[in-house]
Subunit: 302 residues, 2 copies
Amino acid sequence: MIQINSFNRSRFLYTKAFIVFFLLLAEATSGEAQQKPSVVVEDFKPASTNQAGSEYPQVNSEGRVRVRIKAPEANNVQLNINGVKYPLTKSSDGVWMGDSNPLDEGNHYYGLVIDGADVPDPGSTYIFGSGAWRNDIEIPARDQDFYAMKNVAHGQLREIFYYGNASQSIRHCFVYTPPDYDKDLTKRYPVLYLLHGYREGESGWGNQGHAGLIMDNLLAEAKAKPFIIVMENAGTTGDLSKRGGLAGFDFGVFEHILLEDVIPYIDTNFRTMADQAHRALAGLSMGGMQTKRITLANLNTF
Amino acid sequence: MIQINSFNRSRFLYTKAFIVFFLLLAEATSGEAQQKPSVVVEDFKPASTNQAGSEYPQVNSEGRVRVRIKAPEANNVQLNINGVKYPLTKSSDGVWMGDSNPLDEGNHYYGLVIDGADVPDPGSTYIFGSGAWRNDIEIPARDQDFYAMKNVAHGQLREIFYYGNASQSIRHCFVYTPPDYDKDLTKRYPVLYLLHGYREGESGWGNQGHAGLIMDNLLAEAKAKPFIIVMENAGTTGDLSKRGGLAGFDFGVFEHILLEDVIPYIDTNFRTMADQAHRALAGLSMGGMQTKRITLANLNTF
C-alpha cells in the first residue's frame, strides 16, 4: 500500500488530474477512439440497398454501418463513407469487418479501400452519385413510410432516348407517369421538370431519390393530384471537374437544352398540359440554382 | 568454346531436347505464359461499357481487355474474366495494369481481385448477371451495328411495379413499348414475353441485351412490325443456389406466375392484342427451357 501524506496526496491528485487530462486528450484526438466507440448495439440487419441475398453490409438501430469483405492477402482495409474512413479488422479466415460511427438517417454514398485501392463493396447495389456509379447505403429514416414500397397502384418510370437539336446528341432521360396515365387516354397532365444536384445525373431522383414511390404513395392517399415528372441530365456529369467545377459551369447551356430539346420532346410525346400554368421546374442543390436562374428568365414558360 | 565429340554431342542433343521439352512443358502449364502472349496490338480504346469519362478499362482490336487500378499497398492484383485470372503489374506510382488474352466479341462479365478480395472495377458500369450486379465489358462485335445507338425513333423501356396474387409479392418488370405506342392510342400490339438465362434477371435483356435498341433499329429499317416486349424475373435470382441450383429449380412456379400474374397485368395495363395468335414466349438458355415447357403445356395461350 502507498501511504499518502498531505504533500504526497496533493502531488498524487495533481498527477491523477494530469493522467485523466491526457487520457481525455488522447481519446479526443485519436481517430481510433472516434471511430470505435466502446458500446455498439448489436442489432445489425442487412441494408435495404443490399444486393438480393447479401448478408452484408448491415445497419443497426444507431445508424452504424457494418461491412464485411473477404481479402485474405490484404494488409489494410477501410470503410470509406463520404471521405470518412473507418478501419476494418481481419479475422483468421481472411475476412475483414468493421463499423462506422452512427450516421444521419437516409442515403449515404460509400465504398471500400483495400490496400489503397478505392473499390465498391460487392454486397451493395449501385446508383449514380457524386460523379460515378457507386455504392449507396440506406439508413432507415423515421419517416421512411412515405417512400416505402407498398401494395398501391404504381406509376411507370420510363427510360427515354431522343435526339436533341440544341445539344446535337442523343439525350437520355427518365419520365415518371402516374398510375392512371394509361387508363384514360384523353386525360392530360401537368409536368414537373425535376433537376438533380451537382455531379448527379438523370437516374438519381428515380433511384436513390425514390421519386416514383413518393408520388405513388401520395396519390394512393389522395394527398397529391397526378402529374408527370421529367428527370433529365442537367449537364454536370462526366468531365465537369475539368471545366472548372461548379463555379466554371455555364448554366445557360442547359437552359437552351431544356427550352429547345427537352420541353418540346415531352410536350410532343406525352399527354401534357402544355402551358405555363401547368409546367414547373424544381431541383436539388445545384438544380435549385438552375431552377432560380431558368424560371426567372422564362416567366412565360414556367 | 565447348568442343563436342560424338559422345558429348549426343549428350548435348539429349540435354538440348530435354531443355526444349521442359521449356514447352513449362510454357504449357504456366498461367503466365498463357496469359501474357508476346505480341499485343497497342490500339487500346476505352470500352463502351465504361463509366462516363473513365479512360480504363480499354479494349484493343484483338479483343484484349486492359485494366488499370491504383492500389499502392497491394501485393497481388488480378483481372478476373469469368473465372480466368490474368496477373497485373505494379508501376512505381502504385498503379497496377494488365491485359487479358483476346476474347470473343460481345459482352463479358469481369471483376478485379485485390489481395484475394473479389471486387468490381470502378471504371466500368454495372449490370445484373451471373447472380449479382457486377461489371461487364463490351468487346466490339463485327455486327454491332444492329444494336448500336442511332438517331432513329426510340421506344421506351418502362420500369413497372405491381402486386402479383400468385407470387404474393410486389413484382418488378421492364416493358419495351415501340416508338409509335403513344402516337395512335387506338392501336393494339402483339406481345413477346422474353425470358432471361440462369442467374440473370429482368434487367438483362434491356441492359446488356440491348433489346430496345435492336427493336428500334429493326423498326427504323422496316425489318420488323412493332410489338411489346415484357421482361420479367423468371425466379432464378437470389437464393437459387441454396435451392439446389438449376437442377433443383421448379419451373412450375414461374409458369403459374406468368399465367396468373404477368399476362393478366400486361393485358390490363397495355394495349395488347390479348389472344393466342399475338402472344409469344421466348428465352435465352434456361429461359429457352422454360419456354419449351410452358408453351407446350399452354398451347391455347401462346
